[in-house]
């Protein structure tokens, strides 16, 4: 069963992105009203807006937090062709009492000639690095060599993906076995050629990022992309939000000792779901990569879980206002008594009442 709470966001226009900080106690929202708002969660679980300020001169598409090792740092990107880095400065005690904080702009990245569609920080073991991707198909990687001076960023890599880009995701693995890697999704709507997802990998020898793989089977516009947390596995798992939800497994193939090019991967499609029956806009993994969530134009969020045979099943559906999708009985999906006489509809299994039950049944079924 799920419990929902509504927060009055107070943006004057559409919200395009919401992002939790690393510990889940702060949140940032950005909107077409060109502003970003930062929210703090209080002891009793209530969200309070502690900052709200104009960040760009166009719709703000995405907002993201840096790892707290670097302090309280946000990055935003916008239709106005720029990305910006913001740092929270400790305010006067008056402000603290009133629960307000101030954010100042540390830098503006103006290299892009078109709308910047996504901004993401690289995994922290790579240092303080920021990546942007733009509608003109260019991915840019910036680095702040001195983490105490956030106004100095240098453009380290500029990668042309040839297709208009809409999203990036870094592989979070910090294992020595995996060189830094990120995936780029394209929202180019021409379906005649595939390859709307490209994987780039860092090459130690050339000191550059080279294309390691293109997922040719993805032919429709990609809206979101997410690598799953690695858990010490040798292979990588990537979720894609396109006209449906897709999960790919990338298995690195053994490299010959003389090979200096990027890793070759065996690409397997692990799952494909069209339950949303519409465009899927976001995909996101939980911390242990055991659950994937997706949201779509059907106004629902779906939760997906896998069993040992890599069979993925839906374990929950939530509607736009947070209520679960119940059966026609319209009963509140309370924890009905196991003893009692109430009839449990089969829908309950889907409503997340028994999170992971589908997983378990299919595990046991397979033996």
């Amino acid at each position: 069963m799920f419990v929902a709470r509504s927060i009055a966001a107070d943006h004057k226009d559409l919200i395009h992105d919401v992002s939790y900080d690393f510990h889940g106690r702060r949140m940032a929202t950005c909107s077409s009203d060109q502003s970003v708002k930062v929210w703090d969660k209080s002891e009793n679980g209530e969200w309070h807006c502690t900052a709200s300020w104009k960040t760009h001169s166009g719709s703000v598409w995405r907002v993201t937090w840096a790892h707290p090792e670097f302090g309280q740092v946000l990055a935003s990107c916008s239709f106005d062709r720029t990305a910006a880095v913001w740092e929270e400065i400790v305010g006067e005690s008056n402000d603290k009492q009133r629960g307000l904080s101030h954010w100042i702009k540390r830098t503006t990245l103006v290299d892009s000639r078109t709308s910047v569609t996504d901004v993401k920080f690289a995994p922290k073991h790579m240092g303080l690095m920021l990546t942007t991707c733009s509608a003109d198909g260019v991915v840019r990687i910036y680095e702040a060599p001195d983490v105490m001076n956030l106004s100095q960023w240098s453009l380290q890599h500029e990668i042309s993906c040839k297709l208009s880009c809409s999203c990036i995701s870094w592989n979070p693995s910090s294992s020595r076995a995996h060189p830094p890697m990120f995936a780029v999704g394209s929202d180019d709507s021409n379906v005649t050629y595939g390859g709307k997802v490209q994987i780039y990998e860092y090459n130690e020898n050339t000191r550059k990022y080279g294309k390691a793989e293109t997922l040719m089977t993805v032919t429709d516009a990609v809206h979101d992309i997410a690598f799953a947390p690695n858990l010490g596995r040798s292979f990588h798992v990537l979720a894609i939000a396109t006209k449906d939800v897709r999960i790919f497994k990338l298995v690195p193939m053994r490299k010959e000792s003389t090979s200096t090019g990027p890793t070759k991967f065996e690409v397997q499609i692990v799952a494909q779901f069209d339950n949303h029956n519409s465009q899927v806009w976001r995909v996101s993994w939980n911390i242990t990569s055991t659950l994937l969530a997706s949201s779509g134009d059907d106004g629902c969020v779906r939760l997906w879980k896998a069993n040992y045979m890599d069979n993925w099943k839906c374990t929950g559906i939530l509607k736009g206002d947070g209520s679960p999708l119940t059966g026609s009985s319209g009963q509140p999906s309370a924890m009905s008594t196991v003893l009692g006489s109430s009839v449990q509809s089969s829908q309950n299994a889907l409503n997340g009442m028994s999170a992971g039950s589908c997983l378990l049944t299919s595990v046991l079924d397979s033996h």
């Binding site: 929902a4 909107s31 302090g71 949201s295 969020v301 736009g320 196991v338 003893l339």
Partner: protein, 580 residues
């Protein structure tokens, strides 16, 4: 429509998200969704805490003993778990204000205890024929007593207990076969009495007789008193097949259930679970329980116990080496979202050999570090398990936070703990800058007690030593202070940017009536000064410093040169003088 995952399994929705670019009116709401876990119930917290204690105890039972001799231990542990469940139920009876919550929680706990008890009887205790029925009687009676106090009174008059007490317990002083023979004789007696209508006069007595014979129809007539099909089952077994073998149970269970439930076509989840238990299909029991219940607590702990009893075949899973590990991982992950129960989860992860550690690493670094105390708690857990990367990361986060709030001492101690040399250097610089600006040090305690940590970074070492110099000076141990001061420059511990300050610090020592610096030391000081001024000269031409500042610098240098020269003279004289 968009969303974001929070670390605590919390989803946040954006509403009215349309990337088609159409701009709508003001967007009003974000919804925060959270799984309504039982972990948020204060009463169940007791369940989680106490069962954690039992769980850890179970893990530490020595492996070398053969399973057979461990059986009593396992049974006792099973009983412990059940008593915790019952304790929670007791509390709910007396404590809860929320009727709805009370009802559903109590019934869930009742069901759990019922199932667990049956599993204990059938799987863990593995009662053989004979005592099996007695255990089942206890089981049913215990449950019935919970559910219907009033019915118990009525039942007692017709209770099987009376009859059961009447007979010697099988396995006590007689064997199973002896009992069986006796029982059959008695049964035939009663049957004969029925046949020749000896009780025809008394209607009630006739009914009792029929019950004693285990007549199904009569028993079914009293359905309301029995309440459940499993009560019916046990009653029937008592009167028809008291020496029932475990392997025969499922046959009777199935038929009893069918007979009892003929009015309803749907069997409840609980019925399926119990039936699976009677069929000794442990995996089915676990599977059905997982479907029916909201929380992983029950299946995780029960499966763990059954695994220790070596009753589970190992199923290799992608998520863990076996089913047990998978369930424990799920349960513990759920606990981690709670602000205090997460500490219990740590022990569960510790006992998951394959994925426990990596799960713990991922989850623990997300624990919010609201206070220093909490951070230290998290750190201790990581340090105990040699999770060095997590230790470093947490310390760095705390150091950064302290630095942002200008608490330099705290920042320094965190960066020392993180073994972060670069950060320690940075903070030491800030300390030194502060000193230059204000003339005093903050956080003296910390710097004074650095100890070997001082060696983490050169700048930190310098900071520590410089403070030591000040201490020596304050204690009027001038000679030692002087020696230290000089060594800071000659050993290149001090950054050249600081040399001017150091030389200026030397001035009062030079101006003392008594000669402190020896001639040799004075030469060295002079050398340092020259080195400094020559390097400054090189840069002075390129930098345009304000005239005033340059004047001050020049004056300082001249003052120093004078003082050094004077000191040198005095030192030479002193060293050259023969004491008469």
């Amino acid at each position: 429509m968009g969303f974001a995952w929070g670390p605590g399994d919390i989803l946040v929705y954006e509403t009215l998200y349309k990337a088609s670019g159409a701009s709508g009116s003001g967007c009003s709401f974000i919804h925060e969704i959270r799984k309504d876990e039982d972990i948020y119930s204060p009463i169940l917290r007791k369940l989680f805490n106490e069962s954690h204690h039992i769980f850890v105890g179970l893990q530490t039972i020595r492996e070398e003993l053969p399973s057979k001799s461990k059986k009593p231990q396992f049974v006792s542990i099973s009983k412990n778990y059940r008593s915790v469940i019952r304790a929670c139920m007791e509390e709910l009876h007396f404590g809860s204000f929320f009727k709805f919550l009370f009802y559903s929680l109590v019934s869930i706990l009742l069901a759990i205890e019922l199932i667990w008890n049956l599993c204990e009887v059938l799987f863990i205790d593995a009662a053989p024929a004979g005592s099996l029925l007695l255990h089942l009687l206890d089981w049913v009676r215990l449950h019935k007593a919970d559910v219907d106090e009033r019915a118990r009174e009525v039942l007692q008059s017709e209770s099987p207990a009376e009859h059961h007490d009447y007979w010697d317990v099988p396995g006590g002083t007689q064997t199973l076969t002896e009992f069986d023979v006796k029982w059959r004789h008695w049964h035939e007696e009663v049957d004969r009495c029925m046949q020749d209508n000896s009780f025809a006069s008394n209607r009630h007595l006739e009914v009792i007789c029929k019950i004693l014979l285990g007549d199904e129809d009569t028993l079914l007539d009293h359905k309301e008193l029995l309440g459940t099909w499993y009560h019916f089952l046990v009653t029937r077994l008592l009167f028809c097949h008291p020496t029932v073998k475990p392997t025969e149970l499922h046959y009777y269970a199935q038929s009893c259930m069918t007979m009892f439930l003929d009015s309803r076509s749907v069997s409840e989840p609980l019925d399926n679970i119990l039936l699976a238990a009677f069929e000794f299909d442990i995996h089915q029991v676990i599977k059905e329980c997982s479907i029916a219940l909201n929380n992983w607590w029950f299946v995780a702990h029960l499966t763990d116990l059954l695994d220790h009893c070596k009753l589970l075949q190992s199923h290799n899973l992608h998520f863990g080496s076996n089913l047990r590990e998978f369930l424990l991982l799920e349960y513990a992950s759920g606990l981690f979202t709670h602000h205090s129960l997460w500490q219990l989860a740590v022990d569960y992860f510790d006992h998951c050999p394959e994925f426990g550690r990596v799960y713990l690493e991922l989850q623990i670094e997300r624990v919010p570090l609201e206070t220093e105390r909490k951070a230290l708690k998290v750190l201790r857990i990581c340090e105990q398990r040699q999770m060095s990367e997590q230790v470093r990361s947490i310390c760095k986060i705390m150091a950064m936070r302290a630095l942002r709030n200008n608490r330099l001492g705290s920042a320094l101690s965190w960066s020392i703990r993180a073994k972060d040399a670069a950060f320690a250097t940075l903070i030491s610089e800030r300390f030194l800058q502060d000193y230059c600006a204000k003339g005093t040090f903050s956080d003296l305690d910390l710097i004074d007690n650095l100890g070997p940590a001082m060696l983490l970074s050169d700048r930190l070492t310098f900071l520590g030593k410089y403070r030591e110099f000040h201490k020596l000076y304050g204690e009027k141990r001038f000679r030692e202070a002087a020696k230290l001061l000089l060594s800071l420059m000659t050993a290149k511990i001090a950054p050249q940017s600081f040399w001017m300050t150091l030389l200026t610090d030397a001035l009062p020592l030079l101006e003392q009536k008594e000669v402190i610096f020896t001639a040799d030391q004075t030469y060295e000081l002079m050398f340092c000064l020259e080195e400094l001024t020559s390097s400054l000269n090189i840069t002075a031409s390129s930098t345009d410093r304000p005239m005033q500042e340059e004047d001050v610098e020049v004056t300082k240098v001249e003052l120093l040169r004078l003082a050094l020269a004077r000191n040198l003279a005095q030192a030479i004289v002193k060293e050259g003088t023969v004491e008469t």
